[in-house]
Structure formats: C-alpha cells, structure tokens
C-alpha cells in the first residue's frame, strides 16, 4: 500500500514529490562515494529481495517496506537505493507508476532518513534486548511515517480522498506490526553476527 499508482494524485502534489525527491537524490548522490556504490547496490538488491517476503499477520499477510532498516543501515545511500528499487518495482511488477515515482520515493525515503538520524545513534550503542526494541521502534516508525505521508498526499490531492486516506492509514496497522517485529529481529541478528554492518562511518 506504500506504492501510490499513477492517475490518483493532483498535479501540485506530484510536483512537490518530484522536487523533494530530486533534492534528496542530489544530496544523497553527492555524499555517495564511488567506492560505496557496490555496497549500496548489493544492500539495495538485498532489500529488494526482502520485500518479496510475504509475512503473515493475523488473517492477512503483508510485504515489508523495510525503510526504517534501510535508513539505519545505509544512511543517505538509502535514498538512491529506494529510488532504484521503486523504478524496478514500477516497471517490472506494476507497483506504483511513472509520474508518481517522485512522490513514492519521498514517502519511503524521508522516513528512512528520519530513522537514520533519530534512531541510528541509539541503536548503534545498544545491545541485547535493547537492540531488539530499538530495531522494532525504527521498523514501526518507518512504516507509520510512510503511511502518514501516503495519506497526506491523498488528502492534499483532493478533499474527497480524505475518508479513503483514513482507511489507507488504517490498513498500515498489520504492516506496522510485521515490520516492527521483523526489523527488531533483523537488527538483533546483525548486532550479534556482524555489528560492523550498522556502524559504517558515513
């Protein structure tokens, strides 16, 4: 549900999304050393694969976004990684669309950056149980923010979308649960097995 299709949003929202994403991409690419491209790309491929995982929650099942986790691990490099993944998901899987690429990237990448900035430092210092908790928090926050942004984009496009926007936000609940749980365990795993992965200097 994080991928808004084409033809839904209003032009001002589309343009805002495109501008924000272009700005984020430009800033991120300036920070991305050529030396770190293989790392960013391989991790981006890993996240792409992970999003194919269908996680059961209650009676339904969801596909993970993992933007909180991407932010914590990749930092700024999460922005182009998300952009690249969204291009591929749009053209090969039909998730999202072409003109909304900017909006969709913004909706997923902004929360990733926020998680990186707010939760990254605490996570790096934590261990044991706390890494699990901080991981879960970053998973939940990433999804919650994305859901909020998606609803906002809908609501800002047209007042008529407001009820639908609320329903969309509500559908994020199972995703938030799955994302929090999986991200928590993933970060617990990484901190135990290869802590250097999330302590990469920017």
């Amino acid at each position: 549900m994080a991928h808004i299709p084409d033809g839904v949003l209003s032009t001002p929202v589309l343009i805002t999304g495109a501008v924000v994403t272009t700005g984020l991409l430009a800033a991120a690419i300036r920070r991305l050393d050529f030396d770190r491209i293989p790392q960013a790309a391989v991790l981006s491929a890993a996240f792409f694969i992970a999003s194919l995982l269908s996680v059961p929650v209650g009676p339904s099942s969801v596909h993970l976004i993992l933007n909180g986790l991407m932010g914590v691990i990749l930092g700024w490099a999460a922005v182009p990684a998300i952009f690249v993944a969204l291009i591929m998901q749009a053209v090969f899987f039909g998730y999202g669309g072409l003109l909304v690429l900017g909006v969709n990237t913004m909706n997923i990448a902004l929360p990733a950056l926020l998680c990186a900035a707010l939760l990254g430092p605490a996570l790096r210092r934590s261990d044991g149980r706390f890494s699990l908790i901080w991981g879960a928090v970053s998973g939940a926050v990433g999804v919650l923010l994305t859901g909020t942004l998606v609803s906002l984009c809908l609501g800002l496009s047209s007042a008529d979308f407001l009820p639908a926007a609320k329903v969309v936000l509500a559908t994020y609940t199972p995703l938030m649960i799955a994302e929090a749980a999986v991200t928590g365990f993933t970060l617990g795993f990484i901190l135990k097995v290869a802590p250097e992965l999330i302590t990469i200097p920017e």
Binding site: G188, F189, K192, V193, A194
Partner: protein, 258 residues
C-alpha cells in the same frame, strides 16, 4: 525385506523449459546407504529435493513413511522424518548462534522451547560439538558449518538422512571426522557424492542418474595391481610416510585416495 521408507514411482520432473528427470523409480529401505551418482547438473540435488516434496513432480507418485504423499501438507510430515542436508552448508544455517539453529527444527515440529533445547544439546554433545553451542554460525569454518548442519538435521530425529555432497569443500581431516560420525549413525541414508572414496566406504548400494533416468549401479570389489607414477607433495623435512630411494615401493592403499 521390510517395507521401503521412501518410494518414488515413475517420476517426471523439470524446471521451466528444462526437463531434468524422466521415469525415475527408486526405493530406500531401512538400513540401506545408497550412493546417488551422476555428473554435474544430472539432477541429483533435484531428486533429493523431490523426495521431501520441495518440488512437485509432473508425473508419478511418491510414497513415504507408510503412505502416499501429494500435498504440501503431506510432505510436512515427510520432512520431519527424512532429514535433508543441503549441498552448501551456508544455505542451511541462518540463525545467529549454533544452538538456535539446532533448535529451529524441533521448534518447527511443535516441541516447546525447553524440550527443543534439551534435544539440541543432546545432539550437539553426541557429535562432540557441545562447545560450539554459543558460537556464531556465520563465523564458523566450512568444516564446522558442515558438522553443525548435520546436527540441525539430526535434531529432528529423522528416520532417514538425505545428504547432498556431505564432504564437499572439506579438507581431509574434517572429512575424516564427518565420515566417522556418518558410519556410526543407524539411519537409512541416500547421499550424493563425486568422491569415490566416500562411496566405497559408506555405500551399500549405488544408483546413477544418466540422461535424466535413474539406473541401478552394480557395486563389487576385486583386487587390482597398478603400476603408475604419481606426484608426492609434502613439506620439506616432514616425513612423507615412505621412502624415496628410487626403488619401486609397494604399498597397499584404497583406490582414488590421491
């Protein structure tokens, strides 16, 4: 002869646009140790995976542990009774620590945490691996990973073991240790190997995949005399275990030892 544990009847299978097996029939009886031979890409791994329902045959029937198995649901039970050791130990171990990995199987079989842990500890100690319990699986050496994979499979208390190149990538010492353990196990086994030495030592029967069909092999043993020259590589100053006086030494050894 007692009833077969696993029976394949006239199985066909292929990947999209790539036929692999056709008309394959096979039986595994209790106490047997069957070597599964065949060239690279012949379909050995595929055949083992078919036995536990990881692929759906396009034709034929699979009978395992007392009844015919068709659905994913049926095969869940088979997977508990026939432990599959993967070709690459890296594919099999994904839990942070060794103990957690060994517990994974029993947990999936519905055992409560404490009981699963007891089983895991018992299996590890029976393989002499107790000291590894808290090690991080990802950081183990190739040989250690193999042994732990074996433990993860044994922890499910299977009646049969399906092993895909169990000694693949192991150095000689590690291979030796693994072999000793395998020889001491009571379970029926099917194992894939390119290593003749292993086959000679472990197998009671051999089958071979050739051009997509399974053919029964004949195994028999008879003495040979060879005259051949070979290279010795050993560290200078370390005893090679035989003389190099230029005369022709004579010694007894297993074929293919190399």
């Amino acid at each position: 002869m007692n009833e077969a544990l696993i029976t394949l009847q006239d199985i066909n299978f292929g990947y999209p646009n790539h036929p692999v097996l056709s008309g394959v029939s096979f039986h595994l009886h209790p106490g047997e140790r069957v070597a599964l031979l065949g060239e690279n890409g012949a379909g050995k791994t595929t055949l083992l995976q078919l036995m536990v329902g990881l692929h759906n045959p396009t034709r034929g029937r699979i009978h395992a542990f007392g009844r015919e198995r068709r659905s994913e649901q049926d095969f869940r039970e088979v997977r508990a009774k026939a432990g599959l050791l993967f070709q690459d130990a890296d594919d099999q171990l994904f839990c942070p620590t060794v103990l957690e990995d060994v517990i994974f199987g029993p947990r999936n079989l519905g055992k409560p945490e404490s009981e699963a842990k007891a089983i895991a500890e018992q299996v590890l100690s029976s393989l002499g691996l107790s000291r590894y319990a808290d090690r991080i699986t990802h950081k183990l050496s190739g040989g250690e990973k193999r042994m732990i994979s074996l433990a993860t499979v044994l922890a499910m208390q299977p009646q049969a073991l399906l092993m895909d190149e169990p000694t693949n990538g192991l150095d000689e010492k590690a291979e030796q240790r693994l072999l000793e353990h395998l020889e001491s196990l009571p379970q029926a086994m099917v194992f894939v190997s390119h290593d003749r030495k292993l086959v000679e030592r472990l197998a009671t029967r051999a089958v071979m995949i050739q051009d997509g069909t399974l053919i029964e092999g004949l195994m028999h043993s008879h003495p040979h005399v060879h005259t051949h020259s070979h290279l010795h590589i050993h560290a200078a100053g370390i005893d090679a275990g035989h003389d190099h006086d230029g005369s022709i030494p004579e010694h007894q050894h297993a074929h293919g030892e190399g």
